[in-house]
């Protein structure tokens, strides 16, 4: 055991429901520096729930979970009263790999290290990958790896934040040996013991007897979810781990933004998925409705047609949600980012670039030969509804994220909820009609464009706020 060990995680009187079942009942548990704790028990006894809950991933029915932040005191990361804090730097490997098939091997390790504040260079990342036999695949996408190699990478990305840190850190591993070959398991056991010898704390769920033998403490769940504890004497490990690096200030949100940007740049599913239907809508309007018909129908119709392609582009489901769904990648990010995950994701996942250019293009295509008194003013002020369309976009993205919480996302009719956003759209149409007919004005009465724009913005932000803050309340 590690001398003068400080607690890293404290779990008190924890009750957790999954579905209608009380999976974790009145659990008290502590993980200290320099120990490996193995959670053992039959399938469905709550091992995974306990690991994931320790990372703050589940709502708690009663009790609290606290983590140590550096040298300071313990801080609650989640409790039954709804208090939440983001986790200190840590390592996490989920039962599923928690990686998107789009990212490369090198990027994966880099991301895991950057979000835990490790200042690493290419050589250090390459060295880490080399230990686990992955260096030759460093620029391959995760989707190109075999199941066994992908699991190696997932386990390494859970261990690396502790390995590369000079200070004691927590590592949570869920069934790390599943899918690993013999050499991978031996390597894992060596790393676990070496990490414990350096003062890091590891909590893992496992069925593998070789991993159980490497633990300092074994916590057994029986069929009735009762816990029993057993200590095992371990000697200090002399195994050589890579040399730790310096710690830097963490910007987890920026890391998520960078990650999402790289994924989209590599495979622009989101941009193309939004662009094609909107442009198709614009072309169909242009082809099927003549300029004369537009002139006769009046400003209401034209304003709606100008804003429609942009509106279509914002209500399409974000590709970020599909990326999150892959191998529980979203859950990994949710644990890393903490309470800000949902609001940040709703902004990152929304259509940021398309709405404004689409509005201007629609105006140029559809307004040809249609005469308005304030034509010059319209072009000058078109950016205003375009800007507010961004608030509609983040509201749409938040609604999609909310529905993605349901276990059978594909079985829910999310388009019914998108109808809510027809309302801010109609208000934007009203505002544009007012600008077309009377030009821009800056009063706040109901027949002035600013009030309509403000209403549209307020409704969108209300929908966004309910969608992102209530589910985690």
């Amino acid at each position: 055991m590690y001398v003068d060990a400080q607690p890293l995680i404290q779990i008190s009187s924890l009750d957790i429901h999954r579905g209608n079942r009380l999976v974790i009942s009145d659990v008290d548990l502590e993980l200290s520096e320099g120990e490996v704790v193995a959670l053992v028990g039959p399938n469905g006894c709550g091992k995974t729930t306990l690991i994931e809950s320790s990372a703050g991933m589940h709502a708690i029915s009663s009790g609290k979970i606290s983590w140590r932040y550096g040298d300071s005191e313990m801080k609650i990361i989640r409790d039954s009263e709804g208090r939440r804090n983001s986790l200190p730097p840590m390592g996490l490997t989920l039962q599923k790999n928690g990686m998107s098939g789009e990212e490369t091997v090198e990027e994966r390790i880099n991301t895991a290290l950057v979000v835990s504040g490790c200042d690493v260079n290419e050589i250090q990342v390459s060295n880490l990958l080399n230990y686990w036999g992955l260096d030759h695949r460093n620029s391959d996408r995760v989707s190109q790896l075999s199941g066994g190699l992908a699991r190696r990478l997932a386990v390494l990305s859970g261990l690396a934040p502790a390995v590369m840190s000079q200070n004691p850190r927590t590592v949570l591993l869920d069934e790390p040996s599943e899918g690993l070959d013999e050499s991978g398991i031996i390597l894992l056991v060596n790393w676990l013991r070496a990490l414990a010898s350096k003062g890091h704390g590891v909590m893992l769920a496992t069925h593998d007897p070789r991993i159980i033998l490497a633990a300092d403490r074994v916590i057994r769940f029986d069929e009735n979810n009762n816990l029993s504890e057993e200590l095992q004497v371990q000697s200090l490990s002399n195994y050589e781990l890579p040399i730790p690096t310096n710690e830097v200030k963490i910007s987890k949100i920026l890391s998520l933004f960078n990650w999402a940007y790289k994924m989209e740049k590599r495979n622009p599913v989101d941009t193309i998925g939004r662009f094609i239907p909107s442009v198709l809508a614009l072309l169909m309007i242009h082809t099927l409705i003549s300029e004369d018909e537009i002139s006769v129908a009046g400003a209401d119709f034209l304003a709606a047609m100008i804003l429609l392609p942009s509106f279509i582009s914002v209500v399409i489901p974000p590709a970020l949600i599909s990326r999150y769904a892959e191998e529980n990648c979203g859950q990994w990010w949710a644990a890393v980012i903490g309470p800000k995950f949902r609001p940040v994701s709703s902004i990152i996942g929304s259509s940021i670039i398309l709405p404004l250019p689409l509005i201007y293009v629609s105006w140029l295509v559809l307004s040809d030969n249609v005469v308005f008194a304030e034509e010059a003013g319209i072009f000058t002020w078109l950016w205003l509804p375009g800007l507010v369309m961004f608030s509609v976009a983040i509201a749409a993205s938040a609604l999609h994220l909310l529905v993605s919480d349901l276990r059978r996302t594909g079985a829910s009719v999310v388009s019914l909820l998108m109808l809510i956003l027809v309302w801010p759209f109609i208000e934007l149409v009203d505002a544009l009609v007012m600008i077309m007919n009377d030009g821009m004005s800056f009063g706040f009465s109901l027949d002035e464009p600013l009030s309509m724009i403000f209403l549209s913005f307020t409704v969108s932000i209300l929908v966004w706020a309910i969608s992102v803050y209530l589910p985690d309340a």
Binding site: A411, V413, V414, L446
Partner: protein, 234 residues
Amino acid sequence: MRNSGWAMTCVGGAGVLLTAVMSYTYAPLVQSPPFRSPEAYRILFWHVPFAWTSFLAFCLLFVGAIVWFLQRKEWGWNLFSTGSDLGLLFGLGVVISGPIWGSAEWGVPWDWGDLRLNTFGLLTAVALFIVLSRRSQPDGMDTRDTLSTIGLFGFALVPITAIATTVYQKRHPSVVIAQSDETGLDPKMLQVLIIGICSFWILMIGLSILTFLSYKLEYKLKNLLMSIDDEVVH
């Protein structure tokens, strides 16, 4: 409790039919102009009670959502389920009868510029989403949390609908509930309307009791099945 539920459903149902008969035989015909399609106005004797009753059902949904959200009480979830079922039923009544009347009176079935119409359509869409999701998703705390959050959308929409009704009224006629200088409702029309509203409310209370009880039984059955599962597994 179950018997009173059945009794109220039967009395309410009979009252709803009586309202339909009275709207043709007792209520006088309106003048044209101002009404474009005077015969079609009779649909209001179902349309308006549908609207008021669905608001009551949506209130059950929102109270249930709040109780579930704050206290995780099973009766809160049952209330939420009952409210969404009945909100959908009566909400569909509004959004079906409204466009029929609108087509005859305005010449268009729907006015996208009218906030009251649109928010009502949205409320019904939210209720439909909740009902479909409840049926397709595995029941559990996480599913209930997500759906009750979505139910609270409607909670935000109700006061906005009320404000929209008074502040931003376009094509839709003003709120009709009792005779005033503004509504100028004929006493006979008012009588039929009051009978209609009362009948719909009694029907709604009866259906609420029956639906609530059936969800309670479903919960008991689920627990029994789970205990059998445990016996089989262990």
